[in-house]
């Protein structure tokens, strides 16, 4: 059976969502190919209308565009940006990013729930970027989100799974796909998140700042696939430390 996951009724095989910001547009096509990505994000604030700069021209057909609401500080602003994306022909997918902090760019969970509620009702496939909090994730699911996108670490930090324990709780408790977003700096970290049971990985800075962008996209692809296979197979036994006690604690038990 094909291993796929579903977002708003659309089925995807690739579990690598690629960012398109922070690097040269001419590399986007090669990055998509080497990443095997089927979804690519697009910051609407960057989507220039001038011909030579129009990112839409660089994206191969068949790849799903995921416009994000970067630049929004409130639910209302995010809703407006989502409307603009739809008008520009970017489709019905939207990644909600609402930041009220210019230093760490941490998402505002409260505003994100509000925006999710509004946009899901309007028929968007809503993918909310959030700080991993179980109660918020439940509210987002109830509001009609298509998935949950918890951050691993502050965006751009490349610090890896700093919120690992909390992401694991979301994976265990929420029925929707959990897509780990932001902070993943190395293929090995992407692999680890997939081993945990994440449905997909979203990465941008780690690839955008690599020496060879398409090659790094390829490295992430392999790591994500490896982690996925390990998760599906069921991880083998990993001893915490030492070996098994030769004098078992329960050895005293009689009949």
């Amino acid at each position: 059976m094909k291993d796929t996951f579903t977002l708003g009724g659309h089925e995807f095989t690739s579990r690598f969502i690629l960012g398109s910001g922070k690097y040269n547009l001419s590399l986007i096509k090669a990055a998509i190919e080497d990443a095997g990505a089927e979804i690519i994000t697009l910051a609407l604030r960057r989507a220039n209308t001038k011909k030579e700069e129009n990112i839409l021209d660089y994206i191969p057909e068949g790849v799903t565009l995921l416009p994000n609401t970067s630049g929004a500080r409130t639910a209302e602003e995010a809703v407006r940006i989502a409307h603009l994306a739809r008008e520009m022909g970017c489709g019905d997918f939207v990644k909600i990013e609402i930041m009220r902090d210019s230093k760490y760019l941490l998402p505002d969970n409260y505003e994100t729930i509000r925006a999710t509620e509004i946009l899901a009702k309007e028929g968007y496939v809503v993918m909310p970027y959030m700080y991993p909090d179980l109660n918020v994730a439940r509210s987002l699911a109830a509001a009609g989100a298509a998935c949950i996108m918890p951050l691993a670490a502050p965006i751009g930090s490349n610090k890896g799974l700093a919120t690992k324990e909390f992401i694991q709780i979301l994976i265990d408790e929420i029925e929707l796909p959990i897509i780990v977003d932001a902070g993943i700096g190395r293929p090995s970290q992407a692999c680890e998140a997939m081993e945990m049971g994440a449905a997909a990985i979203m990465a941008n800075t780690a690839i955008a700042t690599a020496g060879d962008i398409p090659a790094m996209a390829g490295a992430f692809k392999k790591a994500i696939e490896a982690g996925r296979t390990a998760y599906l197979t069921g991880m083998g036994r990993v001893l915490q430390r030492g070996s098994e006690a030769s004098d078992p604690l329960t050895g005293f038990l009689g009949d």
Partner: protein
């Protein structure tokens, strides 16, 4: 007096004006109190000024050692003490390591992006006597204020070149360039550009709110020097003389609803280490108070002006400027850093690899001469420039230069989110 290098003669002044100019220059008691707000200037309650000035006053940069600098460079997050060490003379031998750390922070926060904008000077009338500035009211230059038709023509020429972000500037004259004039210019700019910033005389919060409604979302105000005593000897007359009103401009702009604010000292006017410290702390404390605001820094050094070729940035050489920019980046990794055409092409090509995230291109600091400059068409009626630029590259040349460094030129990273503006697309 040390600052006499700035003073220039103007044979066109009447006897009375000349006498007033001389008196202002020579007799401090003839000048107004630079710490007292003038009538109509809004006073806000804020502790930011106090905090910045207390840190700056206590800053003894000779106290810092190589060990302090090495420790600062090894820390994951940069404290105020670390920032002070990085700005100290002891940090200069660590310039390469500072650049490496700064580059890492820049890439983390901005990726490979370098933003391009152009400034558009729409008027050069000025009521201030700031002795180092080409626009000062006693300097004999061609004055000009563009009409709305002329502004629109300039904007068309600039927009046709490919530029999408504009910074509009005026001299500081409320009388000649009133708020309504600037607001109307903002509305025009919204037609041609995707991002409109202003660098004008400081105004009250409700006036910033009006300009915001007209389409501007970014305000830049240079404090010039954070040392009030020095400031007093350089800004001898006019509204700009009031140091605290200027200091609080960014906070008023944020209260007026602006998304972003820009800061700077004019390096070379006073002790540059203290001015750089104060600039960084001004950003730091305001960011803590207004965490949603987008902060940016500039780093202008003094340049020659019309009628005074001798003005120079004194002890702020390229190495010191680079040190300051690296320290800014490490202390404030999230802040945009603009390097203007006051610096030459070699410096700008290098600094975008380390710390700068925004550069100007196709620059003219004169009034109404873009059409002539961009098209080669002669036009005699332009107003004179504020200072001499050192990098005259066009938009296309700058775009290619950024690409040549393996970086990505970005023309716009802004989206108007106000309801009434949604129809823009």
């Amino acid at each position: 007096m040390e600052e006499n290098q700035f003073l220039i003669e103007n044979s066109a002044l009447t006897g009375e004006a000349l006498e007033k100019k001389r008196r202002l220059e020579q007799d401090p008691s003839s000048r107004t109190d630079h710490m007292a707000y003038m009538e109509g200037m809004e006073q806000i309650q804020s502790d930011v000024r106090e905090r910045v000035m207390a840190q700056t006053a206590a800053y003894d940069y000779d106290r810092y050692t190589a060990a302090d600098v090495a420790a600062a460079l090894s820390h994951d997050t940069c404290t105020i003490e670390d920032f002070k060490a990085l700005l100290s003379p002891a940090a200069l031998p660590f310039l390469e390591q500072m650049a490496e750390k700064a580059q890492l922070e820049t890439r983390k926060h901005f990726g490979n992006s370098v933003y391009i904008f152009t400034p558009l000077y729409i008027a050069n009338y000025c009521e201030n006597y700031c002795i180092y500035c080409g626009f000062n009211c006693y300097n004999q230059i061609h004055r000009k204020k563009l009409t709305m038709e002329e502004i629109e023509r300039e904007m068309k020429v600039i927009a046709d070149s490919g530029i999408e972000e504009i910074l509009m500037l005026t001299g500081e004259s409320r009388k000649m360039s009133d708020l309504n004039y600037i607001g109307e210019a903002c509305k025009l700019a919204r037609k041609y550009f995707r991002n409109v910033g202003l660098e004008i005389y400081p105004v009250n919060a409700d006036e910033y709110a009006y300009l915001h409604q007209c389409g501007a979302d970014y305000i830049t105000v240079f404090q010039e020097t954070y040392n009030p005593d020095k400031y007093e000897t350089l800004h001898l007359m006019g509204h700009k003389r009031v140091w605290p009103y200027r200091f609080e401009a960014q906070e008023r702009a944020l209260r007026g609803g602006m998304r972003g604010v820009g800061f700077s000292a004019l390096l070379g006017l006073d002790d540059f280490r203290k001015d750089a410290l104060a600039t960084g702390l001004h950003v730091y404390y305001l960011q803590r108070k207004y965490p949603h605001a987008e902060m940016s820094l500039s780093c202008p050094r003094l340049r020659p002006i019309i009628n005074n070729e001798k003005i120079n940035p004194r002890d702020v050489h390229e190495k010191q400027l680079c040190q300051i920019l690296c320290a800014y980046r490490i202390f404030l990794p999230f802040a945009g850093i603009t390097v203007s055409s006051r610096e030459n092409a070699r410096f700008r090509n290098g600094i975008i690899r380390i710390a700068a995230t925004k550069v100007s291109a196709g620059v003219s600091t004169g009034i109404g001469d873009h059409e002539a400059k961009y098209s080669g068409k002669e036009e005699a009626a332009a107003g004179d420039e504020q200072f001499e630029i050192a990098d005259s590259r066009s938009f296309d040349e700058m775009y290619d230069a950024i690409c040549a460094q393996g970086l990505q030129p970005v023309l716009n990273d802004y989206i108007y989110t106000d309801a009434e503006d949604g129809s823009r697309f």
